[in-house]
């Protein structure tokens, strides 16, 4: 009997420790949110969104160039990563049983875990080293390489959620596999795929390491692919490790913009995914 109550007591201790673990993980989350919102809001103003950075030591100015730069970089990345990712995902879903599909799936997951700084070196060797100049193109390539495995796997998973009867119906009506895939399956999964793309964009917009020595930084804004370009993340990094209080303030404001961006997309993705799952399960 006493052994039984000891076992029950141990069980209760472990159960409460598990609950405690959740609380322990939420503490840093809450602390980060509080600090970013508190410090960020007090530093956020109209100038931050509309002005260019001031020279070192002069207070004021903003991160307009860096925000435009980040948007431009993720546009470059999306331009080639979205088509490649979607078509590769279609292959994985259409030929899911094949050995090559398993290899690609495995490679995509492994690629997803390659440190972003290593992807940065790759983009550096590809686009900076040959011409000896940092460029928006190199930064966009690095971010795009990171997007490809995410989009590939998301597309595949969402296509697998579409009822197979839809493909079978299309094929029975005489459609080619290409027609069935791109005319029926992909459109059916499109809301989910779009959400997946938005999440991928939000994630790479928060990347810093692969941009440090590819797109580098720029005090002005340019859309030229062969010129260095500023980004929100690199700018926050530069300001965070600087000795100036005013730059620290702006770094917090930049962090708030980044976190808000990521948060909105995560919630959006959550809502859409749940609705899709409910729809497909009937």
């Amino acid at each position: 009997m006493s052994q039984h109550s000891r076992r029950r007591a141990l069980s209760n201790v472990v159960v409460s420790l598990c609950g405690l673990a959740v609380v322990l993980a939420l503490i840093p989350l809450v602390l980060i949110f509080i600090y970013v919102i508190k410090q960020g809001f007090s530093s956020l103003n109209w100038d931050f969104f509309t002005k260019m950075p001031k020279p070192v030591g002069e207070p004021g100015g903003g991160m307009a160039n860096a925000m435009l730069g980040t948007l431009w970089l993720i546009t470059i990345a999306a331009f080639f990563a979205i088509p490649v990712g979607i078509i590769a995902g279609v292959y994985l879903s259409e030929y899911r049983g094949s050995r090559f599909a398993s290899l690609v799936r495995f490679t995509a997951d492994v690629l997803n875990g390659v440190p972003s700084i290593v992807i940065g070196i790759f983009a550096y060797g590809l686009a900076v080293l040959p011409v000896h100049r940092f460029s928006a193109l190199a930064g966009g390539l690095a971010l795009g390489f990171m997007m490809i495995p995410i989009i590939t796997r998301t597309t595949e998973e969402l296509l697998n959620l579409v009822p197979p009867t839809m493909r079978e119906g299309a094929l029975a009506l005489g459609a080619t596999r290409a027609r069935a895939a791109f005319g029926v399956m992909v459109p059916a999964a499109l809301p989910g795929i779009m959400t997946g793309i938005l999440v991928a964009l939000a994630r790479i917009a928060g990347e810093t390491a692969p941009l440090l020595f590819t797109s580098f930084n720029n005090r002005y804004f340019t859309t030229r692919l062969d010129q260095p370009i500023a980004s929100l993340t690199v700018q926050v990094y530069t300001y965070a490790i600087s000795p100036y209080d005013d730059w620290h303030r702006q770094a917090w404001a930049g962090a708030l913009v980044l976190v808000a961006f990521v948060f909105v997309f995560s919630v959006l993705a959550r809502v859409v995914t749940r609705r899709l799952e409910r729809m497909h399960r009937g």
């Binding site: 029950r8 141990l10 069980s11 472990v14 159960v15 598990c18 609950g19 405690l20 673990a21 959740v22 993980a25 840093p28 989350l29 602390l31 600090y35 970013v36 490649v84 078509i87 590769a88 292959y91 259409e94 899911r96 090559f100 690609v104 799936r105 495995f106 490679t107 995509a108 492994v110 690629l111 997803n112 875990g113 390659v114 440190p115 700084i117 290593v118 992807i119 070196i121 790759f122 590939t152 998973e157 697998n160 080619t176 596999r177 290409a178 895939a181 928060g206 990347e207 810093t208 390491a209 440090l212 580098f216 990094y237 965070a240 620290h248 770094a251 962090a255 976190v259 990521v262 948060f263």
Partner: protein, 325 residues
Amino acid sequence: MTKPSSSRRSTDDRLFRLGTGFFAFLVVLLVAGIAYELFRDSRLSIAKFGFHFWRTTTWDPVAGQFGALPFIWGTLYSSLLALLISTPIALGIAIFLSELAPRALRTPLAFLTELLAAIPSIVYGLWGIFVLVPMVRQLEIHTPDWLRKFPLFSGPPLGVGMLSAGLILAVMVIPFTSSVAREVLKAVPATQREAAYALGATRWEAIQAALRFGRTGILGAIILGLGRAIGETMAVTMVIGNNPRISPSLFAAQHTMAAVIANEFTEADTNLYLSALIEIGLVLFVITLIINALSQLLIWSVSREIKAKAPKAAAVVPVQPEVAA
């Protein structure tokens, strides 16, 4: 003889397979390309230093001396420290969310813990510099003297250093480990727990049965976290102190492989210097490749095992969509 329309269709279908397969092949090509290029651009350093590069501790770019041991040390130290802190917490979360929490709480709590993975690394770093490091410095200042005599706690209370890096890495790794471990536990057939309960097991004993059933997958989840910790760059470089010196102390400023690349890449003024940094990148790539492959195989093997052992339980591991199909 086949009718012309159906033969055209099979040609079309073959073209479709080849066409989409080409794009899928690009993913494989990308990984091969990274390996090739990192190797090509680090030849200079490999040829000059050989294995010596990984055994020596002097990192003096001005003198052209490059020894990478301090970075290996720092990466291993910080990652294992992070793993030590994060693993119990992440497993606790996984157990709580899959076995214990009321149904209504599961989704929102899972969403919140996974939000930790969505916060950009630079934001962790910024928060680390201005909030975590001062807190750690206070902790270090108030460490009693008798404790400081141990090598683990020696050195001046800087705040920046191994302890801060380990803590911030632990927070960043938790969501990865916990979400995969949760999927693994979810995939363990309910019969495992029911059998344990039927034999008179307590709640914890039933959970243990589920953990034992999914142990390979749980190990995969932990290793996945290790891979993340090893490759993490920005948050670490902002709090670890960037000092290439091997020390056993939690309080000492140290350096990691990823951090030295981020810090010194644009300053590398000689080909040899650049090549040495790229060689560090190459090794980082190979290590994370092996770790990720290993963790994928472990996670996949669990769902395959479950599928084989309990076909009726319809083992659906969402990280594993082809099983669902």
